[in-house]
């Protein structure tokens, strides 16, 4: 440094004290940054937990929806203990999420009215299913409860008859059923053909109900269904049988009926010893459809009962 020249404070070097002060400041600032990073990672873990919890809750509610509207007479979502049976149908899903430390509960409440008050009155046919998933998130000390609900209704039978044409063995009267599934509320229907000689359905799994009085004396009876396909696109080559579940007073039996686009086929099957009024419900199970190529729509032209059946010829 030349004599007589002042040293500017901005050009002098850094003192040890300043350096240490800077390091101390860094030492103060870095830990919170690292902690923030750690928190972000923990949040990521919690996000994954929530993803799993939501997926599990959805899985349970989807199963409830399937049970509510699937048409199985062996599953009644309004029955006591129904929630305990859901896990039986979710074994794989249940085991996977249990391995992640998650468990769940299901509550089915109803019937409740429009105000949401549980009345227990059948006329208030709304029900609510709530799934609560419980899990321990990250380093939390307490469980997290994650609940999802959906609205349901239980099927109700109404008397809106569709009448078959008379038949030598006697036709039954068809009743529609309708339900509200929380989404659309339009009644669906099995439809009568234009000539009113048969009913058909473009959708599988939809019930059509009949009543038949077989008289007071118990006896072994047979029942027959006469079917044909109803659609211009026709059946695919591999579609050989209509599969129909026949419920008689709630007891199901599966019937395979030859499927044809042109010919009526009548199949008799044993329904055991019966008497009195029978509640008969039919559900066609195996729909098949590909746009512009084929379309299976079951058409029922006859429903018959006999103690000593002689298969009739032809269709309705």
């Amino acid at each position: 440094m030349r004599p007589g020249r002042r040293v500017s404070a901005t050009r002098r070097g850094t003192t040890l004290v300043e350096l240490i002060a800077a390091i101390v400041l860094l030492g103060i600032a870095v830990p919170p940054l690292v902690a923030t990073l750690s928190t972000a990672l923990e949040n990521q873990s919690e996000r994954v937990d929530r993803e799993h919890a939501l997926r599990l809750a959805e899985a349970v509610l989807e199963t409830v929806l399937a049970d509510a509207y699937g048409g199985s007479t062996s599953i009644d979502i309004s029955a006591d203990g129904y929630a305990d049976t859901v896990g039986d149908r979710l074994t794989s899903i249940d085991a996977f999420y249990a391995s992640l430390g998650m468990d769940w509960e299901l509550a089915v409440e109803g019937p409740f009215d429009e105000a949401g008050v549980v009345t227990g009155t059948d006329a208030d046919h709304f029900w609510r299913a709530t799934t609560t998933v419980r899990y321990r998130a990250g380093r939390a000390d307490e469980d997290t409860n994650f609940a999802v609900s959906t609205l349901l209704t239980v099927f109700e039978t109404i008397n809106d008859p569709v009448v078959f044409q008379p038949h030598p063995f006697g036709w039954s009267t068809a009743h529609q059923q309708y339900g509200v599934d929380g989404v659309p509320r339009d009644p669906y229907r099995w439809r009568t053909t234009d000539d009113d000689v048969s009913v058909y359905s473009p959708w599988s799994n939809k019930p059509i109900d009949f009543e038949q009085d077989l008289g007071p004396d118990a006896a072994p009876w047979s029942m027959a269904l006469t079917v044909k396909n109803f659609d211009d696109d026709g059946l695919p080559s591999w579609y050989t049988n209509f599969q129909v579940d026949v419920y008689i007073n709630g007891v199901k039996q599966r019937v395979n009926l030859p499927a044809s686009d042109t010919e009526w086929h009548t199949v008799w099957f044993d329904i055991g010893e019966q008497s009195g009024e029978l509640d008969i419900e039919l559900r066609w199970r195996n729909d098949a459809y590909r746009k512009g190529q084929y379309d299976a729509n079951i058409q029922i032209g006859g429903l018959q009962f006999a103690q000593d059946p002689t298969p009739p010829t032809g269709g309705p």
């Binding site: 997926r55 199985s72 996977f96 473009p202």
Partner: protein
């Protein structure tokens, strides 16, 4: 001269002392910071993977829920009556329609679907009429990228199997 001392620069001793202190601090904090950096990188990758798998699962379940009917089913995919197909192409889960293929998720290690009928019984996807009997589908999706693995499972019920329709389109 006392006044000059306040304005001088580093001495060699001071510089060496500073470097020693800084080296000690850097050594102590480097491993922590590196681990944090690695973890952050992994978390970023995992977040992307979870997000991708989650969106793919949402899309698959949505397609099952809204399809008018299923035209074909298998253990690794399905075809809707509209012609839309969901399935694997290598390790990429794809959605294919008349316009081409759209990737839903990459790095898929496992994609499987098990189908059930209205009574809760398993449907054999190999049966010719299996598609018409599907009432519930359990979907499993496993994605692996690098050292990260994410698995999710979901359930969907085709709404068309119990919603009320007036049209004759199936």
């Amino acid at each position: 001269m006392g006044g000059r001392r306040a304005h001088r620069g580093f001495t060699l001793i001071e510089l060496i002392a500073s470097m020693v202190i800084m080296a000690a601090l850097a050594g102590a904090s480097a491993s922590v910071l590196m681990r944090a950096g690695d973890a952050f990188g992994d978390a970023t990758d995992r977040r992307a993977m979870v997000s991708s798998a989650s969106m793919a699962m949402d899309r698959v379940l949505h397609q099952i829920r809204v399809t008018p009917s299923l035209a074909a089913v298998s253990g690794t995919g399905f075809e809707c009556s509209s012609g839309l197909v969901v399935g694997l192409a290598g390790s990429t889960l794809e959605l294919r329609d008349g316009l081409g293929a759209s990737p839903l998720c990459e790095g898929v290690a496992t994609f499987g679907i098990v189908y059930y009928d209205a009574d809760g019984a398993a449907v054999n996807a190999a049966d010719a009429d299996a598609a018409g009997r599907v009432f519930r589908a359990e979907v499993r999706l496993v994605v692996e990228r690098g050292n990260e693995r994410f698995e999710t499972r979901g359930v969907a019920t085709p709404r068309a199997s119990f919603t009320w329709r007036q049209s004759d389109d199936s």
